[in-house]
């Protein structure tokens, strides 16, 4: 282990962050695309933390929700228990979620009447070890609430996906920005394609902290279920960083 990695692990352990506590290996869920998993310090999406998913533009609400649903399906594969979906709106369409790989027989949809109730319910879900994964459709959260959610997730090891339309959440381990991309097919509309950008990730290697990783991904039905294929990765920013080191 390099000095840097050791130092990172020590700081992580002091902070009690997922994956660094007492040398225990992180419980992480593969995103289904090795190119993306390799870029994450946990080798996948870490359990016991919050992951923020945002739409690139308001028009991309469908894409962001689609990616979030896809991740929830991945969590379901890796973990036992129920899937919880918390939302204030009533436009979630079950057949569409099933098509994105969400096992609907394990999903419970909770529709509180108020945003404050939703945050409270999200915390209750994150505390519960019987939950495989939580997806909460929120419009921002104040610092305190976000911190509470993060602590609840850390305590139980339940991963929380926050589909966020509001202000950025500092408490999240990762932040994903999703935009829809044109599909490819000889005829008709092809498989779903998204522009995916990892705009925040705790414990990226030093110097990579402010780096933004981008991919063009396609959601595919393949052997062993629904998965992502990273068609291209944009590493231009990271290359710029290397040049700076060299110079």
């Amino acid at each position: 282990m390099s000095d840097l990695a050791q130092l990172r692990a020590r700081i992580g352990a002091l902070e009690g962050l997922p994956g660094f506590a007492a040398g225990r290996p992180a419980e992480a869920m593969s995103l289904g695309a090795a190119a993306i998993d390799d870029c994450l310090p946990w080798g996948g999406l870490a359990a016991g933390g919050l992951h923020e998913i945002r739409a690139e533009k308001t028009d991309d609400a469908g894409a962001a929700l689609g990616f979030a649903a896809y991740l929830l399906g991945r969590l379901a594969k890796a973990r036992r228990g129920r899937l919880m979906w918390l939302t204030l709106s009533d436009h979630v369409h079950a057949p569409g979620l099933a098509g994105l790989g969400v096992p609907m027989e394990r999903l419970l949809l909770v529709r509180p009447a108020r945003a404050a109730d939703l945050l409270w319910a999200a915390e209750e879900c994150l505390r519960c070890k019987g939950v495989a994964g939580l997806l909460a459709d929120i419009d921002g959260a104040d610092f305190r609430s976000a911190r509470r959610l993060s602590l609840a997730a850390r305590g139980s090891g339940v991963p929380g996906l926050l589909l966020n339309r509001g202000g950025l959440l500092g408490a999240a381990l990762t932040r994903w920005q999703v935009g829809s991309a044109a599909s490819e097919a000889p005829i008709g509309v092809g498989a779903w394609r998204w522009h995916l950008a990892l705009t925040r990730c705790r414990f990226m290697a030093a110097g990579e902290e402010d780096r933004s990783l981008q991919w063009l991904v396609e959601a595919k039905h393949a052997k062993g279920g629904f998965s992502l294929v990273a068609l291209s990765g944009d590493r231009s920013v990271s290359q710029a960083g290397q040049r700076r080191q060299a110079g």
């Binding site: 894409a63 649903a69 228990g81 949809l109 909770v110 019987g130 509309v189």
Partner: protein, 496 residues
């Protein structure tokens, strides 16, 4: 309760003096008194008198409008309160003959708790009197006999088997006949209940219908007349009565803590678990409230139930004080002792606790699961299952349609302006929510129709279209190609 209509208004706490004369009058062109209180009665006022006459006889008479619905609601509340005496309590809204409604209480098997029937009656009338309600009460073998004895007899207890003799001198209207029947009987010279005893039933039935015989049988016990209680009685219930009424929420919480393990013992004996727990709170001012908590699966965990109930106790208003609490498992389901592997059991336990806590704060109807429904129309393609159905066990996976469906379905399809080259082609351009979308790729049409036996709505041709930026939409054209001119297009969903 002969003076209910006026007692309701002249409650002692409203500052009314007992010797004020009160009357309740019907609204309308010809205003007549409907009910009067004792003071007014002593002054010579009677129901049926016109308001002008009444005011002439007793100047200073206080008048109030007749509100039967309010009275009925009050009776309902009093009946609730009387369920502290017996689970079989119900309001009696039969006003013919006396003009006043009352309460039914089936005290079979309850009187010994109060030291006999007479003591129970004393306690009941005493309490009502302190609340400002004048009540005449009677106990008899049958509800019919008690009704007659309270209103037309001396009141009090009619000993078992004495009803026939006791009722004989009472007027026939004491048998709850309509005025026409009473009048008809009077024309035949039948004024006393005793007059009816020797008569043959056949001719009576021919003249007045079966009602005469039936009421007589009900009064004398030859026919059963059950009192339908407000709520079915609970065998799974425990009660605590307080010598000194309590008011602090800590005391109520302590009492609930005391009662819960006792209820759990009752349930354990029958291998049942609580699905719904009701706490009935009886206050000294003859009002009662009920708090309820539900659970997603049967449980006998007193601590978990207490936590759920505690959320509601904060909202409880003690009023002038609480004199008794009844804790009942109003819905129970079999719960056998189960063995599970530890880890799984813990997760399931915590999941059901979490769902209970969500359900009790947000409402159980706000937790749903989904299953496919056999309809082609997108808005009917999903069955919503209740939390209870979904939470008990994991559902069996059911196949969803193979066709691509959007994860977001607008609750109401939104009309869009469209440029389409041909009636049966997908659009080239469409304007939705102020934005122009240029269609680059399209797939379809997929024709979806409602079930023919359910509606005659036009069919819809759905297209999956992708715009230049990769935004994917579910559009449909209403009707067959060319059915509407210009064609009507809608956005119904957003794809991932």
């Amino acid at each position: 309760m002969p003076y209910l209509a006026t007692d309701r208004l002249a409650k002692p706490d409203s500052g009314a003096r007992p010797d004020d004369a009160w009357a309740v009058a019907e609204a309308g062109s010809q205003r007549r008194l409907v009910a009067v209180n004792r003071a007014a009665e002593r002054a010579g006022l009677k129901p049926g008198m016109s308001v002008a006459d009444a005011l002439a006889i007793r100047p200073g008479l206080k008048l109030a409008p007749h509100e039967p619905a309010e009275e009925d609601a009050l009776l309902g509340r009093l009946a609730e309160w009387c369920s502290a005496y017996t689970p079989f309590a119900a309001p009696d809204l039969w006003r013919e003959g006396t003009g006043s409604a009352g309460l039914w209480l089936d005290i079979s098997g309850c009187d010994h708790l109060w030291g006999g029937e007479a003591a129970l009656l004393d306690d009941l009338t005493g309490r009502l009197d302190r609340l400002g309600f004048i009540a005449r009460a009677a106990v008899a073998d049958t509800p019919g006999a008690a009704w007659a004895w309270a209103r037309f007899g001396a009141g009090g207890v009619v000993a078992a088997g004495d009803a026939r003799e006791a009722l004989a001198p009472l007027p026939v209207s004491a048998l709850r006949f309509s005025p026409e029947v009473t009048l008809g009987l009077a024309r035949l010279g039948l004024r006393r209940i005793g007059d009816l005893y020797p008569l043959a039933r056949g001719p009576l039935a021919a003249r007045f219908g079966s009602v005469v015989g039936r009421r007589l049988d009900q009064a004398l016990g030859a026919e059963e007349e059950p009192i339908s209680p407000l709520r079915p009685p609970q065998s799974l219930q425990v009660q605590r009565r307080f010598v000194t009424p309590i008011g602090r929420s800590e005391d109520v919480a302590a009492a609930v803590r005391f009662l819960l393990p006792r209820l759990m013992q009752l349930l354990e004996r029958q291998q049942l678990g609580v699905r719904r727990l009701d706490l009935s709170v009886f206050r000294v001012d003859a009002s009662s409230v009920r708090l309820a908590v539900g659970t997603s699966r049967p449980t006998r965990d007193a601590n978990a139930l207490f936590r759920l109930m505690a959320l509601q106790l904060d909202k409880l208003q003690a009023g002038f004080g609480i004199e008794s609490l009844v804790l009942a498992a109003s819905v129970a389901a079999p719960l056998a002792a189960r063995q599970q592997d530890m880890e799984d059991g813990e997760a399931a336990e915590c999941l059901s606790e979490m769902l209970d806590s969500l359900g009790n704060r947000l409402g159980f109807n706000r937790i749903q699961a989904f299953a496919p429904a056999g309809s082609h129309l997108p808005e009917r393609a999903v069955r919503r299952l209740s939390a209870e159905a979904a939470a008990a066990t994991a559902l069996i996976p059911e196949p969803w349609p193979d066709q691509r469906r959007p994860p977001i379905l607008l609750s109401r399809p939104e009309s869009v302006a469209v440029t389409a080259p041909l009636p049966d082609a997908p659009p080239l351009l469409f304007r939705w929510r102020e934005t122009l979308h240029r269609v680059r790729r399209a797939e379809g049409p997929e024709r979806l129709e409602g079930e023919w036996w359910r509606d005659q709505n036009p069919a819809r041709d759905y297209y999956l279209v992708e715009d230049e930026d990769g935004g994917r939409f579910w559009l449909y054209r209403l009707g067959l190609p060319g059915e509407f001119n210009p064609a009507r297009w809608f956005v119904h969903g957003l794809f991932a």
